[in-house]
Amino acid sequence: MAKLYSRRKKSKKEIKPNKEIVSFILSYSKALNIVKVNNFTFENVVN
């Protein structure tokens, strides 16, 4: 098999958001309730 002489790309370390941020987003999603009544949109965030 032919060798590859092209420049190898530097392996990128995966960066991820803070776990607390993800946890907040998931909690926010669970707490958020959006109701549409005619032309009005009501957002309820249940604690």
Binding site: A2, Y5, N18, V22, F24, Y28, S29, L32, T41
Partner: protein, 195 residues
Amino acid sequence: MASSVQIPDAILLKNYIGGDESCLQVLIERHQSKIYGFIYSKVPDRSVCDDVFQDTFIKVIKTLKTRGYNEEGKFLPWVMRIASNLVVDYFRNNKKMPFQRETDEYSIFNFMADSGLSIENKLIENQVEFDIQRIVEELPEDQKEVVKMRFYDDLSFKEISEITGVSINTSLGRMRYAVINMRKIIEKNNIILTN
């Protein structure tokens, strides 16, 4: 885990809109690295990135819950576009920078330097480039082709071998002979290539 990877985004989104909150977690886990990496490439500050990431998903959640998202199999590009817009907003909001007026004690040129080449060095550089181009033109056609593709077109040897229809080793061999021949031309004509 393996089963969740196989579920397409479209189905996860449908289930999420239908009330299955766990689908959002799968979607975030699947795409967080790409989205966060994209934001980080624009704003290399972890705390700002976290804020933008959070705001992005708040927008995503609101849009999904109001059923404002039209599923066309492009969930990730859509989220990326939201993130991109929020990055632009961040830069807009942080545009206001402290203003310094130039005085006798304070000159902007004390802090700024021209990193470019001087006129003399630029002339030398142009001359060197011109000489190299002339030397390359003297090479046999197959060697010239490899040198141009590698250095001017920035192609890898693998790509060169695919385009020219020869093996990588042949391309490398041509490059080796090209370098040897160029050295010979330089020595023969007493060309000085320095900057």
